[in-house]
């Protein structure tokens, strides 16, 4: 009989109609390193949020058994008290506070009603020793590199007497050396009796460190692999990750008349001054007329950054390399110039930076091309309604009228409005970033059909997507990105899910 520290039994979780988890069972033995693997959207993060109390008891079904007793976490602090600590991909540190203040933030060492800062520093030093981080505890967090910040996060977890440590893609932002150190530390913690769950996309790491690995796909548990039985290998993991068959939810295009190259970037790099690192590295890419180019890769692989750097560089990256439109070198400094040059970009995050949620459908559809419905700066309001109605009907947006506030529409309809806004610009090249994220199958099919129609009309499309099925079903050619680089280029005939996953997890 195994000694399970954690058993999650038949967990189901639904978000307004979308099943994120269905009947997931996940068991972790005491003292092991257990990796949780799956594509984007497979349900890994949701499962961990259920476990840590982000989604409180009652919002999911199924039960959590921790150290032999059923737990009903109502809030995050409940799970922390029982000894579960989670470290997210985006670190939750306070950059302007010192290391010791961060380690004990929310868990202050008190004497009476006051904080005992001296004792705090003494204890912080002990924690730092445990994670083998040799810095002065009075250093400010922002002065440390990402790798060291990660160790501070772990020290913070240790200070709360953690029994089960959860790391969500801990090495995503780390370089090779820091990653190696982190993995070494995890082994050490395991020897001290701390159980660890690690979510990772990097299969090499998983193979190097995992005792067990559980694969999730489409919100379900597929299998749990055991290293001691030799089950953890790249081929077995990938097969289980992608196993889904591509059904015919991807409409076929009739004739593929592919023309001249309309966009090309050469040795294209982008440096993000805010993050202080390269987000796009020496990318070579081209798009031809009448072609859908898929860009596959996992989240954080630099796909969105690449798109932004081409679309007028709104985040003010430092750019290097050459960009050619119709064979002519160009510099595009603002999204307005990109729009003029015939490029449109439908954002990944339609609520965040895509739509004007408090405005109505018509204002959203015309926002990027008001010139077309105005003369000498005055808008023809009736013309606007006419245009908006056209797009509403063509794209089959389900809403009573174009005066409907966009924030009240469903995800699929919002996406169609977002698409309509950019089609109204009349682009030659349409960049779609996760065009079907968070929308139902029916709306997906409609969007694919629209894409095919646009291609027939001679448009070119770059489609960025985390869904392998979509990339394989819709693209003529596929680039795979990882760590800001293009790791591989595949024609649709040679591409399959395993090959893409291999490049993406390099």
């Amino acid at each position: 009989m195994s000694d399970y520290i954690l058993e999650m039994n038949r967990i189901s979780k639904e978000f307004t109609g979308v099943k994120a988890l269905s009947d997931v069972t996940f068991k972790v033995e005491r003292g092991e390193i257990h990796c949780l693997i799956g594509e984007n959207g497979a349900g890994k993060s949701t499962l961990m949020k259920v476990l840590s109390g982000v989604y409180p008891h009652g919002t999911y079904s199924g039960d959590i058994v921790f150290e032999g007793s059923v737990q009903n976490f109502g809030k995050i602090s409940d799970s922390v008290k029982t000894g579960i600590a989670i470290i997210y991909q985006e670190l939750a540190l306070f950059p302007d506070l010192t290391v010791y203040e961060n380690i004990f933030a929310g868990n202050e060492v008190k004497r009476g009603a006051l904080v005992d800062w001296n004792q705090t520093i003494v204890q912080a030093k002990q924690m730092l020793q445990k994670v083998k981080l040799n810095v002065n505890p009075e250093t400010l967090i922002k002065e440390l590199g990402v790798g060291k910040q990660q160790l501070v996060e772990i020290a913070k977890a240790l200070s709360k007497n953690v029994k089960l440590l959860i790391l969500d893609e801990p090495t995503a932002a780390l370089n090779e050396n820091d990653s190696e150190n982190l993995l070494e530390l995890l082994r050490e913690l395991k020897n001290q009796g701390i159980t660890c769950i690690m979510i990772s996309h990097k299969l090499k790491e998983v193979i190097a460190i995992a005792d067990k690995a559980t694969v999730l796909r489409d919100g379900r548990t597929i299998c749990t692999l055991d290293a001691s039985k030799g089950e953890i290998s790249e081929s077995i993991i990938i097969k289980n990750m992608v196993g889904r068959e591509i059904d015919d939810i991807y409409p076929k295009r009739a004739n593929k008349a592919i023309g001249k190259t309309i966009l090309e970037v050469k040795k294209w790099s982008a440096h993000d001054p805010q993050l202080g690192r390269q987000v796009v590295k020496e990318v070579n890419l081209h798009v031809k007329k009448g072609e859908i180019v898929g860009i596959a890769g996992l989240m954080g692989s630099g796909r969105t950054e690449l798109a932004l750097s081409i679309f007028g560089n709104p985040k003010s990256y430092k750019l290097q390399g050459e960009l050619l439109l119709d064979g002519i070198p160009r510099t595009i400094k603002h999204p307005s110039e990109a729009i003029k040059a015939g490029i449109a970009y439908v954002t990944e995050d339609r609520k965040g930076d895509g739509l004007f949620l408090i405005q109505d459908i018509k204002s959203n559809v015309t926002a990027a091309n008001l010139r077309a419905i105005s003369s000498s700066g005055v808008i023809n309001v009736n013309e606007e309604v006419k245009v908006a109605n056209q797009y509403k009907n063509n794209l089959n947006v389900k809403a009573p009228s174009v005066e409907q506030i966009v924030g009240n529409l469903s995800g699929g309809n919002q996406q169609k409005v977002s698409l309509g806004k950019w089609l109204f610009v009349g682009p030659k090249l349409l960049i779609l970033d996760e065009p079907t994220r968070g929308i139902d199958v029916g709306a997906k099919f409609e969007i694919y059909t629209i894409m095919n129609k646009l291609i027939d009309e001679g448009m070119s499309i770059i489609m960025i997507s985390s869904e392998l099925g979509e990339v394989l079903g819709m693209s003529d050619r596929i680039y795979v990105m990882a760590e800001g680089r293009i790791k591989g280029e595949l024609s649709i005939d040679e591409a399959d899910q395993e090959k893409i996953m291999q490049y993406a997890t390099q």
Binding site: D353, F356, I358, S363, A367, V381, V385
Partner: protein, 391 residues
């Protein structure tokens, strides 16, 4: 759809806007009853509107500033300072009023643009940048009025802006003829624009409100304009202040509702990132909005200085807060992207009506502040509630 149902659904959709007109109506009615009609007398309404002018124009500019998610605290003393400069130009430099006014307005634009640069290009939070501006202009106002104290202005043309009325030509039953004609012209223009808009919608095959509702609306609004004209004509007629206020409202209403620039301003306010990605130059919009705010504070300074016929050392004190309050009462949202120029004008009139009515009733200043504060809070609470209900 029958008449009642249609009216009901119209009210439901426009509850916030109609709510404010209803509030104004209730306030006016209450004061009229309590003062035995004195409140709605020609003289009082005329004075009330004149006293609102310099706050109302600030409220118009402030609306746009708040719509793009910023604030400008410097407008009060900027107005005071520019009023003083106007006085100096008129009295000490001997520049005629028809040159002084454009000079001051341009100075206002420059000052506003400078704020815009601090906020948009250097990235200083507008609260802090304009707080600094407030202190600087307060000092500057003291500096230029320090030696002379109050600067009194003898220029009749300039003083007419804040005190004069449009000529009456002739009097009919004690009513000013030109003011009456003006009122009639406004009504005709209003009816014409309603009809042409309806015709154009029909041409596009769009849905229009039923004939009965349309008639009721046109008759109702015309009646209100007629009533106001009648009241105002009974005293000295339309003052230049009211005329200027109306022109500012008409221009800004047109700009914000009918032009590309207006649409861009609201786009920036409702989602700056999306606006940027839609090819809108967010910085440029910020400059323009702050520039217009500067120009309107110059206008406010001119109106106030002219009204007092002098520049004082404390001119402009708390104007900014009155303007901000008027904008919020008028339905501007602090979250950005929402708010109408017409709403803010009504907001300014609501606040002025409260002061005027309470003065007539002899309510102490201490209670006046508390009541106006409560009305401001109530307006915003109403705003938040109706918005929650809708989403």
């Amino acid at each position: 759809m029958n008449f009642v149902n249609e009216a009901k659904s119209l009210v439901k959709v426009n509850i916030r806007e109609y709510g404010m007109y209803i509030a104004l109506f209730v306030i006016m009615l209450t004061f009229s009853i309590m003062t035995d009609g004195l409140f709605m007398s020609s003289r009082n309404i005329s004075n009330l509107l004149d006293a609102t002018g310099y706050i109302a124009v600030l409220a118009v500019g402030m609306t746009l500033v708040i719509v793009i998610r910023h604030i400008d605290l410097s407008v009060g003393f900027a107005a005071g300072f520019m009023g003083a400069i106007a006085a100096i130009l008129l009295t000490q430099a001997g520049i005629p009023f028809y040159l002084t006014i454009p000079i001051i307005l341009v100075l206002g634009v420059v000052i506003g643009m400078f704020n815009g640069v601090l906020v948009a290009s250097i990235g200083i939070p507008s609260f802090v940048a304009s707080l600094a501006g407030m202190l600087i202009f307060r000092g500057a106002l003291l500096q230029v009025t320090e030696k002379t104290g109050t600067i009194s202005i003898k220029d009749d043309h300039f003083n007419a802006i804040g005190n004069g009325f449009i000529p009456s030509i002739a009097k009919i039953n004690g009513l000013n003829l030109l003011s009456l004609i003006l009122g009639v012209v406004v009504i005709i223009l209003y009816i014409y624009s309603e009809f042409s808009q309806r015709k154009s919608k029909v041409k596009y095959n769009f849905e229009v409100v039923s004939k009965s509702i349309f008639t009721v609306k046109v008759v109702f609004v015309s009646a209100i304009i007629a009533y106001i004209t009648w009241i105002i004509s009974g005293y000295n007629g339309f003052s230049w202040t009211v005329i200027i206020m109306l022109i500012v409202v008409v221009i800004y209403h047109f700009l914000t509702t009918k032009t590309v620039l207006g649409r861009h301003i609201y786009a920036v306010g409702s989602n700056p990132e999306a606006a940027h990605l839609s090819g809108i130059n967010v910085k440029k919009i910020t400059y323009i909005v702050f520039g217009s705010m500067g120009m309107l504070s110059a206008l406010s300074g001119i109106l106030f200085t002219s009204r007092l016929q002098s520049a004082t050392t404390t001119a402009g004190t708390l104007f900014e807060l009155d303007a901000i309050a008027a904008a919020y009462v008028g339905g501007v949202s602090a979250a950005g992207g929402v708010g109408k120029v017409t709403g803010s004008i009504i907001g300014a009139i609501v606040m002025a009506s409260l002061s005027s009515g309470m003065n007539l009733l002899g309510v102490g200043v201490s209670y006046q502040y508390m009541i106006r504060g409560a009305v401001l809070a109530a307006a915003v609470i109403f705003d938040v509630m109706t918005r929650k209900k809708r989403s």
